[in-house]
């Protein structure tokens, strides 16, 4: 039985549905992420799980128990807030001990557990400091320690890394993964940063305008997005409009507007006539002056229209004969060279038949 069941939950503000008939099952021990742009409803959903907001429809069931009418302090669910919400008038020890005090744990044992937890988040010795004496990263760890100390069933994290700079983010992300593995508590993580979601999660729920677009493992979300929104939201993606012309067995022929006919793998058993788009990741598009012929690939010629130098890779925007543009990604791994091609160069691009994923509308 899943640890957390969200059944058809809806939350409306006036006529606007912030969360619209969302159903999710989250398993114990998972690192589950709610991913989406601002306003998609992920934070509202999180607050309902925590108990700060009440669904207008549907129910939230934790460990088999319906959470309706149960206030936040009675749920065994704790939150790491985006602003950390450390009590400024209490020092680190008192902050971390707070949940234990609330649970009426024997005072003699509190001190020891606080020390252990501080060790877990690598903040030993910081006990007597006050929040305004801590760095951003330290504050974040206190917030996590405080939320974990009495081993809640569920830990909710509301964009906890949003305020950290890029370098710090990376190391904290690794720590979070290790922590979650070690303690084994189920995490429900909210973020708008898709690369963060891909890095941290066991499973991701991509949300948009109050609805869940797709729930899957990161690799599937990335490789097999279900619709345009997911494909576009996750990293870079070419979305080439087209229509299925013919199907035979595993393969199908798709007529891409402005490009021509290409061959793709028929993953979902689609029939001819379906309109949609071919989702093609730029790193799967080979680019070169003279590519070797490949029977398993779709090949086209074009001219480099523009390029984006990103340091480790370069994205080439190639304009094909009919005016359509496709992005191809090339790592800048050859020593000494920053660019392989210049704007205006004549090039060939190709992608394997199984490189793209057809999304029907």
């Amino acid at each position: 039985m899943p640890l957390l069941e969200i059944r058809n939950v809806t939350r409306r503000f006036g006529t606007f549905a912030a969360v619209d008939q969302v159903s999710l099952n989250i398993e114990a021990g998972e690192f589950f992420t709610l991913l989406g742009p601002s306003g998609c409803g992920k934070t509202t959903l999180l607050r309902m799980i925590a108990g700060f907001d009440v669904p207008d429809g549907g129910s939230i069931v934790l460990d088999g128990k319906d959470m309706v009418g149960i206030p936040p302090e009675a749920r065994n669910v704790h939150t790491v807030f985006q602003s950390y919400a450390l009590f400024p008038h209490m020092n680190v020890e008192q902050n971390v001990a707070f949940p234990l005090k609330m649970a009426n744990v024997d005072p003699a044992r509190i001190a020891q557990r606080v020390e252990e937890t501080l060790e877990d988040v690598r903040l030993t010795g910081m006990g007597k400091r006050y929040p305004n004496e801590l760095s951003g990263g330290q504050k974040q760890r206190v917030a996590v320690a405080r939320a974990l100390i009495n081993r809640p069933k569920l830990l909710l994290l509301d964009e906890p890394l949003a305020a950290l700079d890029a370098k710090l983010k990376e190391s904290v992300q690794l720590e979070l993964i290790a922590l979650q593995k070690e303690i084994g508590i189920t995490f429900v993580y909210v973020t708008h940063d898709q690369s963060e979601a891909l890095a941290l999660s066991h499973r991701i729920a991509v949300m948009n305008q109050g609805r869940v677009e797709q729930v899957d493992e990161p690799s599937k979300i990335y490789g097999f997005p279900k619709n345009r929104f997911v494909a576009d939201f996750i990293s870079q993606c070419n979305l080439l409009d087209g229509q299925i012309k013919a199907c035979s067995g595993e393969r199908m022929t798709v007529a891409l507007s402005g490009i021509g006919d290409v061959v793709a793998i028929n993953m979902e058993g689609d029939a001819p006539g379906l309109k949609g788009a071919l989702a093609l990741r730029p790193e799967k598009v080979a680019i070169g002056r003279d590519l070797p012929a490949d029977a398993e690939a779709n090949c086209f010629t074009g001219k480099v229209h523009d390029l984006l130098y990103l340091g480790d890779v370069t994205i080439y925007i190639v304009e094909l004969a009919n005016g359509m543009r496709i992005e191809a990604l090339l790592p800048n791994s050859a020593a000494g060279r920053t660019k392989f091609f210049e704007a205006g160069d004549e090039v060939q691009i190709a992608w394997r038949h199984d490189a793209g994923h057809f999304l029907n509308d």
Partner: protein
């Protein structure tokens, strides 16, 4: 450009002088060895000495103190509740009743309370004064507490509840300590307002009781001696000290309008 700045500064300095000169004059004359508030004769502390032997004045000061402390205590508790309620819940009647005593001319409140007490056969005296003072002090405390709450990080109270605290415990352990400076500032302001109040006290005091401001009024109308200057100076000093403390505790709350 410079000329205009100079002009602005002079106008402003004149305005400040206008604000403080009269008060300074009162203070200066309190040390003047002369019955008249006219020319400077010499320095003396005799007026202050006379003050401390003035039975009526001491009695009035004592009354003012008692009233001030009682009114301040009660209105701080009620005002904090009101301020919290206005912040946390949607209240419609409460804000009106909070703001009205502050917005309308004081005489209206004084007069209506007079009728009220007489009709209810409540004798006019210390009790009626205290009850009246509480009525107009609640609003000030409520406004100060509310603005202090508005400036507080709401996620802190949420975090407390998230970690297992009941609403009352969250208020007690997290919210209250954080707004305490505002509460204390409100209490000090209420005390000052009570000590200084004239109009409402004038109508609800009846014959028997007197407060410091009422005593000053009698002295001003009937027999002006520099004792008035002396008691005024002392009162001003007290008020100044209290308000400076309050402004340290809750900066910005003094601009309650």
């Amino acid at each position: 450009m410079n000329k205009r700045v100079v002009l602005l500064w002079s106008a402003a300095i004149l305005a400040y002088a206008f604000l403080y000169a009269p008060l300074a004059i009162v203070v200066v004359y309190s040390f003047n060895d002369s019955r008249l508030n006219a020319e400077w004769v010499g320095f003396t502390l005799s007026w202050y000495q006379k003050l401390f032997h003035n039975e009526k004045m001491l009695h009035a000061a004592w009354n003012s103190l008692l009233i001030g402390i009682t009114a301040s205590a009660v209105s701080t508790i009620l005002g904090t509740m009101a301020g919290y309620a206005m912040y946390r819940f949607r209240t419609r009647l409460l804000p009106v009743l909070i703001l009205a005593p502050i917005a309308i001319p004081e005489i209206l409140m004084g007069v209506s309370l007079l009728i009220f007490f007489v009709l209810l056969n409540i004798s006019l005296g210390m009790v009626s004064i205290v009850l009246s003072h509480i009525a107009f002090c609640i609003g000030f405390v409520a406004i100060v507490v509310r603005s202090r709450l508005a400036g507080m990080d709401e996620s802190l109270t949420e975090a407390a509840r998230d970690l297992g605290a009941t609403p009352w415990t969250a208020f007690r352990l997290v919210t209250l300590p954080l707004i305490m400076p505002g509460v204390v500032a409100g209490a000090l302001m209420a005390f000052t307002l009570s000590i200084d109040d004239f109009v409402i006290t004038f109508f609800t005091a009846g014959v028997g009781s007197t407060t410091l401001p009422l005593q000053i009024y009698t002295m001003v109308k009937i027999a002006v001696t520099p004792e008035v200057n002396a008691v005024s100076t002392l009162l001003m000093t007290l008020t100044l000290a209290l308000i400076l403390i309050a402004s340290r505790l809750a900066p910005g709350s003094l601009r309650t309008q």
